[in-house]
Amino acid sequence: MLIAATLAILVVMMMAIIRGFIGPTLYDRILAVNMFGTKTVLLISLLGFVMGRPEFLDIAIVYALINFISIIGVLHFSDSAAFGNDPHDTGSTKKES
């Protein structure tokens, strides 16, 4: 059962990667990364059990945290002045070449 779940997670990860590649918008990619991150957390937890060393769940916790932080980071930066049509455009650092 563990193996089946692991395989299912792997398939879903593949799907997330596909969505990450084809886009089309930035937010689709962010969504894909987010989903990939959650699935990685599950994968690591499952792998710990599959390999018989479940005490390594710390890694999964770190993944969950890091995933959250990087999603927030992405949103923060994609939201920020340099990208959107934000009234608080600080502008001068940004040079679209």
């Binding site: 059962m1 799907m15 997330a16 969504l31 989903m35 957390v41 479940p54 916790i61 939201d79």
Partner: protein, 113 residues
């Protein structure tokens, strides 16, 4: 007793995998960003929760259960919030949701291609 725990654990894992898979199909097949997010956001939390509960039932070690519980709590908190922030950011940046009125392929209508 043992059999019951094992059975329920297997059932949880199976259900979780099924939910995750459906979410994966959703992210590939749905037409625009918001619907995809719906697919992922909804299935993710429950799917992950199910799998984690399934794992919890497998192991009697209390430290492992606590860690799994932490992961579970975090997923339950983080996942919806991340989805919420993501949708909000996308909406604020003029990504138009697919509706009955604009029939064309959604998701491409972005101010920043």
């Amino acid at each position: 007793m043992d059999i019951v725990v094992n059975m329920s654990s297997g059932l949880c894992l199976l259900l979780g995998s099924f939910l995750c898979l459906s979410g994966g199909i959703g992210i590939i097949r749905f037409p625009d960003f918001y619907t995809r997010m719906h697919a992922v956001g909804v299935t993710d939390t429950l799917g992950a929760g199910m799998i984690l509960i399934g794992l919890m039932l497998q192991n009697p070690d209390s430290l492992v259960i606590i860690k799994l519980l932490m992961i579970l709590v975090m997923t339950i908190f983080i996942s919806p919030v991340a989805s919420h922030a993501l949708a909000k950011a996308a909406f604020r940046n003029d990504l138009v949701p697919l509706s009955d009125r604009n029939e064309h392929k959604g998701g491409t209508e972005s101010s920043n291609p």
